[in-house]
Amino acid sequence: MSGFFDIPSDLQHTYAGLIGLHLREALVPVLVGLVVSLPVAQLCVRFRWLYPPVLGVTTVLYAIPSLAFFVVLIDYTGQSETTVMIPLAVYSMVVLVPAIVEGVRSVPPETLAAATAMGFGPVRRYVQVQLPIAVPAIIAGLRVATVSSISLVSVGMLIGNQGALGNLLHDAQIYNRPELAVNSVVTTAVLAILADAALVAVRLLLTPWMPKESAAR
């Protein structure tokens, strides 16, 4: 007999192991995406003309199916986690760059003028004034990036079982165990909801300065 949580041995992971793997494959790209997006967004804010072409390029990248990405990347990074994570990082950037740019631009001009007048240099002004005020917008972007990343990891199943919980879909087919597919879908959804809730909690912690009625969003 085989239960809901009995993972076929070909996946070389326990249920908990698969969850850990799934989270790593989903979240590391979001983090990398964030780290790369911050300076890119800052450049877009600093040089306004840069923003439209950057938006154009990211939108085109977003339009490329992940499968096509894999095909190109397999030549370089093989059938590995990295091959799965690179497209996810790129997709995260597509969401995060505009989110950060809009967030930083939403800082009221009189706040910026006040900061400049008080003797903030450009770097200090960015780190201590613009970024903190952009936090709600950045986290809104992170929520979208995280949830879509968690659901997209499953596609990694197509390149040699690199899809973590997604691999259960494959096993459901070959072992004719539909409950594994249900497990995969439900677990992925629960992970996405929990990650989203965690980000909302982080937002609330980081922004005690937001009016309560708009913080309820």
């Binding site: 009221p108 009189e110 706040t111 007048a117 008080m118 003797g119 936090v135």
Partner: protein, 379 residues
């Protein structure tokens, strides 16, 4: 002293915002820049802390070109207050105020202690310290803005329409507060407004700018009101310039009459005698402490039975010697009897004065003032 020496600002698009402006701003004074929208007030102010660089000319601070010191050092030595306060929405009130001390490298505790000290100075309750800006009213935010600008005790304060976004009552409170703080601290304040009343009230000197950044007149407010340099300034001062000018004449010269004033417990003889000899149609009744209660017709006042509730209102009294002739005239015009009540600092009646007498005082004050002008002209 801040010396603005034939400064011109041409923006990249060709707009000439300020045109060969020269101004000497004395230490410890409030210099107000006033003028219609777009005349270059903000541009001028921002050239002083180098948020805008002049195209031509120089600005000297205590004799040294402001470009000689690092720009952020210069800015940290000048407080800056703007409309809507421009507070950091993500920082508590106390941390907003502590901003510049922190930039100057003070420790957190010392900076916060200083911030709390300033909250008290600008009349903010200590319980607001841990709040965020969105939890404050517009007037309170503006006070935080002033406190933040004062935090590092800068010798210079630049203020760009700081009070224009609050209602008139709050604005008056903030203006009074600023004058009080200035009397205590003696900063060099450059204050931008488009409200001529605010300029006249606050300014030691007022610079009227006209569109295109030309200086139309630079004078103390009393002189501005008595001798506008040209039709533009006269127009800008508005139609009640004469009345406003009365603010600069003290009421101390008014001769107040005490005969038409009787106490609540006055006897019949006094009421009758005062009623017929004082020359006033009504008598002002004061309580036993000397505070005004209201006006009564001597025929209707019965000794020992004066009912304060049935007297005519005495209107708003003026403080003799402290208020101006404008306040005295206002009190007389608003009084139902046409007589103004003068009180001392504690609210006790000093005497009363008729509209005619106020009018005569205004005429003689003007005559004296003109005499002064003639003397200047002769010299």
């Amino acid at each position: 002293m801040i010396r603005i020496d034939s400064v011109t600002k041409r923006y990249p698009d060709g707009t000439v915002a300020v045109d060969r402006l020269s101004l000497d701003i004395e230490d410890g004074s409030i210099t107000v820049l006033v003028g219609p929208s777009g005349c270059g007030k903000t541009t001028t102010l921002r050239m002083i802390n180098r948020m805008v660089e002049p195209s031509e000319g120089t600005i000297l601070l205590d004799g040294a070109d402001i470009r000689q010191q690092p720009v952020n050092t210069l800015r940290r030595s000048m407080g800056y207050v703007i409309q809507n306060a421009g507070l950091f929405q993500h920082r508590t009130i106390v941390d907003n105020i502590a901003t510049v001390p922190r930039l100057l490298g003070w420790g957190k505790d010392r900076a916060r202690a200083r911030a709390r000290e300033l909250m008290e100075r600008v009349g903010l309750d200590a319980s607001l310290a841990k709040r965020y800006p969105y939890q404050l009213s517009g007037g309170q935010q503006q006070r935080v803005g002033v406190a933040r600008a004062l935090a590092a005790d800068p010798p210079v304060l630049l203020m760009d329409e700081p009070f224009s976004a609050v209602d008139p009552v709050v604005r008056k409170g903030l203006q009074d507060e600023l004058l009080r703080i200035q009397a205590e601290l003696g900063k060099t304040i450059v204050f931008v407004t488009h409200d001529i009343d605010e300029a006249v009230k606050l300014g030691t000197m007022v610079a009227v700018l006209r569109t295109g950044g030309h200086l139309a007149q630079y004078a103390p407010p009393a002189e501005l009101l008595s001798d506008p340099a040209d039709a533009f300034v006269e127009d800008f001062l508005g139609s009640d310039r004469g009345i406003r000018r009365l603010s600069f004449f003290p009421s101390g010269a008014l001769e107040l009459q005490t005969a038409p004033v009787v106490a609540l417990d006055a006897d019949a003889g006094t009421i009758a005698a005062r009623g017929s000899t004082s020359g006033a149609p009504y008598l002002l009744v004061a309580d036993l402490d000397g505070r005004p209660l209201g006006w009564g017709d001597p025929k209707d006042l019965t000794a020992g039975e004066i009912e304060p509730g049935r007297l005519l209102s005495h209107g708003r009294p003026f403080v003799h010697g402290k208020d101006s002739l404008r306040a005295a005239l206002d009190a007389a015009v608003l009084s139902p009897t046409g007589w103004a009540v003068g009180v001392d600092g504690t609210g006790r009646v000093v005497g009363v004065v008729s509209q005619q007498a106020v009018g005569e005082a205004i005429r003689s004050a003007h005559a004296l003032d003109r005499g002064g002008e003639d003397a200047r002209a002769v010299r």
